[in-house]
């Protein structure tokens, strides 16, 4: 504290200084203007504003030839006048001079909200002799000027004034909220009298609740309501949003307000009514709030209560490897978002999501507290590709419908492009461009021929069917014979017919042998002089079926028997058998 010598006797009154803040005025003053060196003065700094609930300031000053002996004393005043509320916050110190002469303060400044308000310096004069302090006159009954003139009129002749028609009432809505649900507490003033000033001297502490002030509008609309058959003007003095922190029955203490009511008395017949201020202390009744517990919570419920909505945004939606995107998740709505935990974001494989940064704000919209919480996640793709980020869901309790709900937002897609260097890795440095025309492709390349596969498969079966049918329809095929008839075959047929009419066995054998030699010569090129024993060998070399060769061997044996054993009497049946066998064999030949 810095003290300096000043000329005693100088007095400067505090001047009102308009504050930089639009709705707040501030001033500082020292009183009285002249004090004795053994007396004290009062240093007061006052801010006056229209805001009911949030007037605060931080003073700073330098004392000259003074020192503080008491204080600071804080005085707060709330007034309702002409339909609007005003609030005054005053801080005062008792100071005493250090020496005769000038004393005062300088470098006076106030920090109101975020602004610094400079106030003018103040001075008083300090004299050696004590100065009698003027007493403030109080408005009392004895101050009545008519009494001073006409003397005191006996009380029995005068009508005792009725108590002022004014009372307080506290309102709580709803009275049975669930934990976390907003409750509105409103303190109303009901009056039929003129209110000169009011000052709340007892505000409930609201234990068990998270409390948010709801500002009262500057111009309060006075509504007329009826109570006990009489009409009153009702004015809200105080409004708070309460959020129960736990279930149970809570008692809200009474609110106490000191009022100055303007009374008008007629103390003399012909005199005008005399206005007299009257101090009244009013008090509400204690209020009970029965806080209900929340129903059994589903998994993932973090305590959010209200009507909430969730949004999610990803910026940018396309990054290159090595870059990061920001996932912004915002939960907002009417309700208490205190204590809501950050939502879990489960990244897909190939993406890393870092822990979020949180921002939060609670604001008043009318009588509703609206909160918002924003979480910002850094999302880093580990490899190129397109990823779907499942945005989190937040479960909350909606007290309006008394059930749990889920706030969610659509999933987001993050595209991670390759690094610039990975493109440069190719030989050309960039991917090849498009092709503007069809390519000439090898005949059997690509997938086109695969579509022809079924046709290529079925075609041979169709051709096979045709071949088979054609063979079946040809005459040789139907008789079971060999291929096209040959001259030798025809001759053999003719010899067989002749043999049937020949009675001599040797002649039959010779004719058949000769015919077979001609046939073998023509069909397989076996010389006619080839002995029987080599027929099988030569025909087998031409891949004639073994069964046919076996039959041919048996036929040759029978022919030789007929040729060299004709003396036997029973050759008729053998001859027929040889002819028949020759005919069957002829049919089987290829």
């Amino acid at each position: 504290m810095k003290a300096a010598a000043f000329l005693a006797g100088a007095v400067l009154l505090g001047l009102a200084v308009p504050a930089a803040a639009a709705e707040v005025e501030a001033r500082a003053w020292l009183e009285p203007e002249v004090i004795g060196v053994d007396e004290t003065a009062t240093l007061s700094i006052e801010a006056h504003g229209d805001d009911f609930s949030s007037l605060r300031f931080q003073p700073s000053f330098e004392l000259i030839n003074l020192e503080v002996v008491a204080g600071p004393n804080k005085f707060e005043d709330l007034r309702y006048s002409n339909g609007s509320l005003s609030r005054t916050l005053r801080v005062s110190w008792q100071v005493r001079p250090l020496a005769v002469g000038k004393a005062g303060i300088r470098s006076v400044s106030l920090q109101i909200r975020d602004e610094i308000v400079q106030l003018q310096p103040q001075e008083i004069r300090v004299q050696r002799q004590p100065v009698r302090q003027p007493l403030r006159r109080l408005a009392r009954e004895e101050d009545d000027p008519f009494q001073e003139i006409f003397g005191r009129i006996p009380r029995t002749w005068r009508q005792e004034p009725a108590p002022p028609e004014v009372f307080l009432r506290a309102d709580v809505q709803p009275r049975q909220p669930v934990v976390g649900q907003q409750v509105i507490y409103t303190l109303y003033l009901y009056t039929r009298a003129d209110i000169a000033a009011l000052s709340p001297s007892g505000v409930p502490t609201f234990h068990g609740f998270w409390v948010q002030d709801i500002p009262i509008p500057q111009q309060i609309p006075t509504e007329m309501v009826e109570s006990d058959g009489r009409r009153y003007g009702r004015v809200p003095l105080l409004r708070k949003a309460l959020f129960p922190l736990r279930p149970g029955r809570f008692k809200v203490e009474p609110a106490v307000v000191d009022l100055t009511v303007q009374r008008y008395d007629r103390n003399f017949f012909f005199g005008p009514p005399i206005a007299r201020p009257e101090q009244v202390r009013l008090q509400t009744e204690a209020q009970a709030i029965d806080v209900q517990p929340l129903p059994a919570a589903p998994p993932g419920f973090g305590g959010a209560v209200g009507q909430l909505a969730l949004t999610a945004d990803l910026q940018p939606k396309q990054v290159r490897l090595g870059e990061a995107a920001t996932l912004t998740v915002r939960l907002s709505g009417a309700g208490n978002l205190q204590g809501v935990r950050e939502p879990d974001v489960t990244p897909p494989a190939g993406v890393t999501v870092h822990p979020p940064q949180q921002e939060g704000k609670d604001e008043i919209n009318g009588t509703t507290v609206r909160g918002s919480r924003t979480w910002k996640y850094v999302v880093v793709p580990d490899r190129a590709g397109s990823y779907t980020l499942d945005t989190p869901e937040i479960t909350y309790f909606d007290p309006g419908v008394r059930q749990y709900r889920v706030a969610a937002s659509p999933d987001l897609t993050l595209t991670a492009l390759p690094r610039a260097t990975s493109v440069a890795e190719t030989a050309a440095g960039e991917p090849h461009g498009i092709r503007t025309a069809a390519l000439s492709l090898p005949a059997f390349s690509g997938s086109r021929w695969t579509t022809l596969l079924p046709w290529l498969f079925i075609l041979p079966w169709g051709l096979a069917l045709i071949v088979t049918l054609a063979r079946r329809r040809s005459p040789p095929a139907r008789t079971g014979g060999a291929a096209a008839p040959t001259a030798a075959g025809t001759a053999l047929e003719e010899r067989l017919r002749q043999a049937e009419s020949e009675e001599r066995p040797r002649q039959v054998a010779l004719r058949l042998e000769e015919a077979w030699r001609e046939l073998l010569a023509e069909r397989w090129g076996i010389p006619p002089a080839t002995p029987f024993s080599r027929w099988r060998e030569l025909l087998a070399a031409d891949r004639v079926d073994a069964g046919i060769l076996d039959d041919l061997d048996r036929l040759v044996e029978d022919l030789q028997y007929l040729r060299y054993a004709p003396q036997l009497s029973a050759t008729g049946s053998l001859r027929d058998e040889v002819i028949s066998r020759s005919r069957r064999l002829l049919r089987r030949l290829p």
Binding site: Q318, P348, A349, G350, R383, A384, G385, S386, Y387, T388, T415, L417, P418, S422, V423, E425, T426, A428, P431, H432, G433, I434, R435, T436, A437, A438, L439, L441, S445, G446, S447, R448, T450, T451, L453, P454, W455, L456, F457, I458, P460, W461, G462, L463, A464, L465, V467, T468, L469, R471, R472, A477, A482, A483, R543, V544, D545, A546, L589, P590
Partner: protein, 237 residues
Amino acid sequence: MRAASGWAAAMIALFLILFLALAGAAADPETAMAPETALAEGNRFFEKDEIEAALEAYAAGYAGDGLAGVLAYNAGTCALRLGRLPDALLWYRRAEMAMPGDPWLRDNLAMTRRALGDPPEGAGRWPAGRRWLAPAGVALAWTALALLILRRPGAGGGRGLLPLVALLACAAFAGGMLLDRYGPRAAVLLAPCPARGAGLPAGSEVRVRPLDGGGWRIVGEEDGPRCPAEAVGLVAP
């Protein structure tokens, strides 16, 4: 004689049934745009640097016919330009079926796979021998026809060989076609799919089997959860 006529009638009826079934199955798939028109339209958009529109045009004309390779390649290049690597990989895989030896396609496909970080292939690449099963059946069928024509009645050498070849032809062709239609199908994951471990990322080349009720199951992940239909792009749709 009567029995032979009945057998021939049955053969003809069977052939006609097969012919009609194949004619219906082999009809060209419907496309939103004629391939030639789609190619020209896509090229025009690409020239104007409207890559998204070009991709849509190429995709609309893709139908697996003669221009399919170029259309698929161009669609893949558009997807690559747009940074949609899994889509680019899918289109390049489709183009690879149509023009397997194309050098531009080979380069871009390799670059796309590298850019995707060479994601795990699962059991994904198409087994080389399997695609030749149905063509082998066709070749055997033609061999059987040749044997039938060349065989002379009464010739003993080919009597047991012809039925064997015919049987092998039918088995190979049926096996190839059934595997193509009902067996595991080559696919590219367009979105991450749940699987054992950390799951498979988008761009993985896998083989999938269809599931009742929609969705796909990744071969090798038979015990894993189903993969949603929109997350799987079939190489041969």
